[in-house]
Point group: C2
Chain length 329, copies 2
């Protein structure tokens, strides 16, 4: 491709100037399976580092069918009307959508995607959750350097991705649908307690009464959940992504949260902790990857895991054998 001739400086300049093609290409480099692409992408990211970190980072999760895309689209337009630039990233480790496409399951947000001040990027494919999370964090930084001042990270709402997303945003919203108990089993254990806000959706038409009931239940239970940050009370909102009801209130809740976090210093602390935690995770993953690229190690690892299942060894003994082998290479 012709852009392969661009160097890191040129990519970085393009991103800073808000060139959407170079923004997309930079993220594609970072998601690439080719080592030289990743190398170049990382150089670009390094150049952009000082411009990163200026956006409001919002995570949104909820069970499948709750209306996340509809909400994000409505919310995105509300932000555009305020003169903001909005990027939407998704974290979906099982997504079959190919790297740079804005089609696939994102056709749902096609109106927002067509806006010049919005940018929608689906989850990279073919990666583990950890890999997807790393790539999403990188894409967020690139979007920030490109001047997007609101970054929304959407999760599919099943599995482990909620905690990953919560660990990369300033504010975490959990969407709920009318009904409770069994209907909510799409939400993973512990997720409610990561929330800064619960948004009960579908308070429209025939569903209004049910949504109001659910909203009341969660409001009365909210004090049983530990607050996500000191001084913050879990907000429980009622609204409709379809009609747009509650969207303004959601934004007000986010800004009130940001204000409080900045006043208490929790904002900077959290960002610094998130950065260091990401760094440590990358170190862990990188060490493990180096470990697992050694065929003799992989063979021994598999043998030891079988022995463990048969209780022929203990985890400490197995780990020591494997580490001794690796470190004495």
């Amino acid at each position: 491709m012709s852009s392969a001739r661009l160097d890191a400086q040129e990519y970085a300049r393009g991103v800073r100037e808000g060139d959407r093609r170079l923004l997309a290409k930079t993220i594609t480099l970072l998601e690439s399976q080719r080592a030289e692409d990743v190398e170049l992408g990382q150089e670009v990211l390094e150049l952009l580092a000082p411009e990163c970190g200026q956006s409001v980072r919002v995570g949104i999760t909820g069970p499948p069918g709750v209306g996340k895309s509809t909400l994000i689209e409505a919310f995105g337009f509300a932000l555009l009307e305020q003169g903001r630039r909005v990027a939407v990233l998704t974290v979906d480790p099982s997504s079959p959508v190919s790297g740079g496409s804005i089609l696939g399951d994102k056709t749902r947000m096609i109106r927002l995607a067509a806006e010049p001040n919005a940018y929608i990027r689906p989850s990279p494919s073919g990666l583990t959750l950890g890999g997807v999370a790393h790539r999403t964090r990188e894409a967020m930084l690139v979007c920030e350097a490109a001047g997007f001042d609101a970054v929304i990270v959407e999760t599919v709402g099943v599995g482990q991705s909620e905690a990953e997303v919560e660990s990369m945003v300033d504010f975490f919203a959990v969407m709920l649908q009318p009904g409770s108990g069994d209907e909510l089993q799409g939400i993973k254990k512990g997720v409610l307690e990561l929330a800064d806000v619960l948004f009960v959706n579908k308070a429209d038409g025939d569903g209004l009464a049910a949504a109001e009931r659910t909203h009341g239940e969660y409001r009365s239970a909210a004090h049983l959940l530990r607050p996500s940050a000191e001084g913050w009370t879990l907000a429980v909102l009622l609204g409709s992504a379809k009609t747009g009801d509650g969207i303004d209130e959601l934004w007000k809740t986010i800004t009130a949260h940001q204000k409080l976090m900045k006043e208490t210093g929790a904002f900077d602390t959290r960002r610094a902790q998130q950065g260091r935690a990401w760094f440590r995770r990358l170190l862990d993953d990188g060490l493990m990857a180096a470990f697992q690229t050694d065929p003799a190690i992989v063979k021994l690892l598999n043998e030891l895991e079988s022995d463990l299942d048969l209780r022929k060894t203990t985890p400490p003994h197995a780990a020591r054998r494997l580490l001794d082998r690796f470190l004495r290479r």
Copy 2:
């Protein structure tokens, strides 16, 4: 010490025969800071591996002052009356209690500790949470090989230890005290959703009405929390560790849970997953430890973390620099 002359076979035989002195000494070896003690301890553990895994593993947490020790003592005596042998281990990364002591903060369980069929072992001191958790898992295996058929793991109920404990037991109980909201802030986010049972304590004397109210609140909110396992409904019990009310019901809840988990196969799956997760954690920790024993690496690590805080670099770039340095040694 004279026992230093014993070899691994002799330790293992002693543990299997239920020799309390050798049981304690084996755990002390595993907790030692001396490499040769740990080596010997691991050999003993390896010999004991086939005898491990036969106990009911119960984790108990709750905010400070909720009455965990009183409950565990009452519960322990109830199990002794059934003819069971009970081991109690604690996970408290900040504990100042020395390695092999049963004194310190465990004087509260002194009656139980005096029973021949009970064994109480406090948290090893001077370790990180990860270190404490590894040592506790090892101590649990040693206790199982010594014939203890119920192992209770107590957490201090603050910080990260709840998730660690939940990851090493079959059944996780969260104790609550009368009142809600602010009073419960000793419980960490997400802990309620790890619970297989909530036990509202202090339903006695003047506190009865308040405990009943709290019990009612949690019962009506329980269906909002995702069940800890398929087919299991979070049980919410009311009782008093002081009077013993509710202790029988707690045991019945545990046995009902074990029965269901064994019927669905979730019991074996969970145990195998826990073993493999422990193994992977040990690998991660071991790699990280090897990494951090290299002074040049530690120096670079500190420099890069400062740069990260100043946004002079990005986590991916910093991690790559450090890994390249380590792997090219």
